[in-house]
């Protein structure tokens, strides 16, 4: 009797809970944005906004965090005060791996919270948009003309605008772009008898430079990011630049790259580096491997390292970098990434690169959409973009600013003049992050000692799952 009633109670409770749950999941997101008034609180005299960014003073992307909290926010507050609005802007910094930042952000957004404005990587725009976590700017701001008439758009090149767009709609304002090169340590190169103006013409040239560097004691010749621990850095700094060097891209005519000869060439190159002592396989497996590779390069222990200009600006930068090199300007050289063989690159190019970048987007659930849009424009005005550089150079989103600032930095004008014309962007498709994870896993397998063929066929399976069907994947 007693146990029966207990059972009944449990049953009733369970049924009630299930009834509550059914239909709760996700679907409540649907109508809500349409129901929200884009002009809510438009005339508020007291406004609170939060900016979220994966940067933190004294740590990751320190200069960016310093700019946001010490320059942009006070200027914007003063500007708004002039208009009679009392604005408080908070900076919500983060200093974690990009993947962790993304997880945190998506959890916040799925619960309709999170900062009012936040910076995201261009490749997340697709999946965030599909999930309804972000909306086209014209929806959030409510007035298409207001968004499209912003004079800043004219200064931002199409290819860069794509970083903040999905399906032809603008979701945010991009924050500049970058380009990838091979960095090398000129001091080590001199010791190994290699030229200070090194420019490899093929993958074999990279290997032979590596073999020369290998003779130096305690030096890891080459660091090409591999494995899953480095996340997107593996895909962006390693796999994709190599892949475009074989003439293939990760998505061609709507089909994802499968187990093709080009993929196997890339994996063979990884195998060649990490099985012959030209690279350090352990570093690719360590949880903090990428940070360690930076530290080792700065300590003159790595000869050649593939990275974006971020490395020059924020890693080995002598004052605020995470792995400062006091003699950066004389010790660090750079070269274009060669195609596998001259002319074998995508579009028949001899040299290749990959570019990416982030965008700042507005949280559709912000209390103050109009003020957030105002802050977003203010942030991307020529004055503020220039101020964000603080004397240093960086490839910004705005052409007017670039033409002024890039000349002062030889590395960055190299990126702007030589790299951007030959570069490729990642496809802004929602499946991309899953494909990217599969590529990382394939390199992890190769570094761990699996054969290229085994890694490539496992990759094929993963891509078929990620893409949804075999028809959306190329092979052989």
């Amino acid at each position: 009797m007693r146990s029966l009633s207990r059972l009944t109670t449990a049953g009733v409770l369970g049924a009630a809970a299930l009834a509550l749950l059914t239909g709760c999941l996700g679907s409540s997101d649907k109508g809500s944005s349409g129901g929200q008034d884009a002009n809510r609180n438009a005339d508020a005299k007291k406004v609170e906004l939060t900016i979220g960014s994966n940067s933190v003073k004294g740590g990751k992307s320190s200069a960016g965090a310093t700019f946001l909290s010490d320059v942009l926010i006070p200027k914007f507050v003063a500007d708004q005060k002039g208009k009679g609005v009392d604005v408080t802007v908070k900076f919500q910094g983060d200093g974690s791996d990009d993947e962790v930042y993304k997880q945190k952000l998506s959890l916040d957004l799925s619960n309709k919270s999170g900062p009012d404005l936040f910076q995201i990587d261009g490749i997340w725009v697709g999946e965030f948009a599909q999930a309804g976590y972000i909306k086209p700017l014209t929806d959030t701001v409510g007035d298409a003309a207001k968004v499209n008439d912003w004079d800043g758009w004219k200064q931002i090149p199409e290819s860069v605008q794509a970083l903040g767009s999905y399906n032809g709609q603008r979701y945010g304002v991009p924050g500049g772009t970058d380009g990838r090169v091979l960095y090398f340590n000129k001091k080590l190169f001199q010791q190994a008898g290699l030229p200070a103006d090194w420019q490899p013409k093929s993958w074999d040239d990279i290997i032979s430079a590596g073999q020369a560097l290998k003779k130096l004691p305690g030096v890891t010749p080459i660091q090409i990011n591999a494995g899953t621990a480095m996340g997107e850095a593996t895909t962006m700094q390693g796999v994709l630049p190599l892949l475009v060097g074989t003439g293939a891209t990760v998505n061609t005519d709507g089909k994802w790259l499968g187990n093709t000869p080009q993929l196997r060439q890339v994996l063979d190159f990884y195998h060649q580096i990490y099985s012959t002592g030209l690279g350090d396989p352990v570093l690719q497996k360590e949880a903090k491997g990428r940070d360690k590779s930076f530290a080792e390069f700065a300590a003159n222990k790595i000869g050649i390292l593939g990275e974006s200009d971020y490395f020059w600006r924020s890693v080995v930068e002598p004052k605020e970098g995470v792995a400062k090199m006091a003699d950066r300007d004389t010790a660090v050289g750079w070269a274009l990434i060669p195609a596998m063989k001259p002319g074998s690159g995508v579009k028949g190019q001899d040299f290749v690169s990959m570019s990416g970048g982030g965008a700042t987007v507005i949280n559709p659930n912000t209390k103050f959409p109009q003020q957030a849009w105002e802050l977003l424009q203010f942030m991307n005005s020529a004055d503020m973009v220039k101020a964000s550089l603080d004397g240093a150079a960086k490839i910004t989103q705005r052409s007017d600013v670039n033409s002024e600032v890039l000349a002062s930095d030889p590395m960055l004008s190299f990126i702007a003049d030589k790299v951007l014309p030959i570069t490729q962007f990642r496809p802004g498709l929602a499946e991309y992050p899953k494909i990217s994870a599969a590529l990382q896993q394939a390199t992890a397998d190769v570094v761990a000692g699996k054969s290229t063929d085994a890694a490539a066929s496992a990759y094929q399976k993963a891509v078929e799952t990620a893409a949804g069907s075999k028809d959306k994947v190329t092979s052989n």
Binding site: G14, Q103, A131, Y133, K285, A287, A448
Partner: protein
Amino acid sequence: MTSASAPVRGRTPARDVAGLGVGRAFGFVAPAFLLIGAFLIFPALWTIYIGITNYRLTGVEAVSPSIVGLSNYTKALNDALFHNALWLTMVFVLGSAIIGQNVLGFTLAWIMRRTRPAVRRTVEAFVLLAWILPSTVVAYLWVAFFDRDGGTLNGLLGTQGTAWLIDYPMACLVVFNTWRGTAFSMMLYSSALQAVPPSQLESARMVGASGWQTLRDVVFPHIRGHVLTNTLLISLWTANDFSPFLLTKGGPNHESETVPVYIYNVALQGGELGYSSAISFLLLIANLLVSLVYLRLLRRRS
């Protein structure tokens, strides 16, 4: 496992001993029911529910997930990485809990029995410290200990350049978790050993029993229940422990990805919330099964 109401157990329904009446009695237990409902039953049902959908952290399925029936479960059964995670969890539980913490905890308790109180307190304090420190702090210390460049262990052994967490991830985790959780076993066995009648130990010594014989024939029969309870608790805790993530993130290349870490990686790294919920539910079932087996054993003893 007999309850306090044992005298009236069986045929007649329980009489209202406290004189509260049903309504008031229910009022007294209602807060407990609410808490259990909100924090145990509801999340468990929620997990079951998400487990039959294709809910994701981002993308289309985050807005409009659909019911996919049992396909998450069939996927798990064929998932090589899940099998890998199960195997690693078994290694982890067996190595660090059933053997590591049990044996070390008992050994410490056995040795500390006779030592001077000052020594005992000091040792206990250190062992307890390992148990009560926050996981993140402890993980940081162990990462520094195992580190390849300038790690303490390499410094002690003179093996510079050995990446312990990369080359021997599971062994490192087993050592780490043994160190971390021994305090509980030690304390439990310390009090259990006090229940062994000194006269019996004395007799054993008089008839010339060796140390091992004394343990096996005199001490163990007295503490068998404690051994079972302890083993049950620590193996459940260890199976569900997430701190391996703080040391290795499940790497390198899934070599230390125990089930809880796998669930996390699938859910947040891969964004597959539906699939990870299904695996969570399987873990829950496994926990229940293990508990049932232990309870059986305990009951048979009494």
